[in-house]
Symmetry: C2
DNA sequence: AGCGAAAGGGATGATGCCATCCCTTTTTTC
DNA sequence: GAAAAAAGGGATGGCATCATCCCTTTCGCT
């Protein structure tokens, strides 16, 4: 079984990252640690295949480059056999280079870290050895979460929201079908159902949805 | 239907916050915006009951107190009828006071923002008018996410992980039953099933789990 | 020895979601 | 105007989860 450890102090972000990792592997166990101490303690008990690190941890100065390097160094030293990916809110190319030099395999900015990029980063790492995804702001349409939607309906709404302009809906449905391993017709059905639910409750949807 | 808007630039965090809001209301629509522009645009189209704001947005300096205040001010002005809650990674009491003065109803630090505190904060606001939750580091046991667990099983594992020391398991089961509105025996069953799955895959669990 | 707590497993019906197939009507596009 | 795309709805079986009830065994404590 695949084992991963996520080291991040913000609870919601840690859980979100853990879910991202979990969604990227068939059979896996993901453990989350809030502090460096807790992470080191986990390394003493178990080996891990993958470690995700946010260098801004309690007890360290997140604005100090030296502190950030120390955090990542300590974790890499304590888990030499694992793949290490750094995830940070304040990302830049020079820091990416620094972490690469000390042994990290990936560097991802939190802004622009969309669900699903994790698999892409892992692919990059396995082929090229290193992967960088810097932050970018590229949102043209808001996100939607409606309590009346089923998980599947949420998924297709999300995919349609983030679609590239110039694609016909039919093409999107095909794409959804591929990604979810279902029939394109079913994807179409889910989307129409979902949108109908959203509109029923008096919300004016943006064009494109 | 209850309407909420979450303004936060980090994708995963925004989606996590949106899920927190969605989980706090029976029938609700939650919209997420990455930038101030997108948020303002949403205000022009719809009214909202609740707005969640991270003041560190693209185009502003997250370390500048003035910039942070401007962001929150603009949003409050654009949605005067809504309840406003500020969520930030770099939280402190003085900033909480500043945002309170300009009309925010809540102030939450990201570190220590556990799933479920949202409802508590909303309760505080409706009774006392204002609520502050500053960051704190209090994790003694790691988080667990295993791909083989059902959602229910995950929930009970999480609750057991965060239990107060000195409580008997039976009491925890009662508590789980209350929170999930199920029988305590069922909660016990779910937990034992979940733990069995975790241990089957060779992972040594920490004491207390 | 007795008792409660905990571990461990098996069987059950109800329910909601998944995925598919079917159909009609309206709008868009060439 | 014809054809394709899109909107909209209805019915279906299969299946995983939910929630409950049942049972036995082990351990720790008094």
């Amino acid at each position: 079984m695949f084992r991963a450890l996520v080291v991040e102090d913000q609870n919601l972000m840690r859980l979100a990252l853990m879910d991202q990792v979990r969604a990227s592997f068939e059979n896996c166990l993901v453990i989350g640690a809030e502090t460096l101490e807790l992470a080191i303690h986990e390394f003493e008990k178990n080996d891990f295949d993958l470690v995700v690190i946010d260098p801004g941890l309690p007890g360290f100065d997140p604005t100090s480059q030296a502190d950030r390097v120390v955090v990542v160094e300590k974790i890499i030293e304590a888990s030499p056999s694992a793949i290490h990916i750094v995830v940070t809110g304040s990302d830049n190319t020079s820091e990416a280079a620094i972490f690469r030099r000390i042994g990290a395999s990936g560097y991802i900015g939190k802004t622009g870290f969309e669900p699903g990029v994790f698999s892409d980063v892992l692919d990059d790492i396995s082929t090229k050895g290193f992967s960088v995804r810097l932050s970018r702001v590229a949102m043209t349409i808001p996100d939607y979460r409606y309590s009346g939607l089923t998980p599947r309906e949420q998924e297709v709404i999300d995919m349609m929201s983030h679609r590239e302009p110039g694609m016909t809906r039919k093409q999107i449905y095909e794409l959804m079908g591929e990604r979810l391993s279902i029939d394109a017709g079913s994807a179409e059905k889910y989307f129409k159902q979902a949108r109908a639910k959203l509109m029923k409750h008096g919300h004016r949807l943006p064009q494109g949805l």
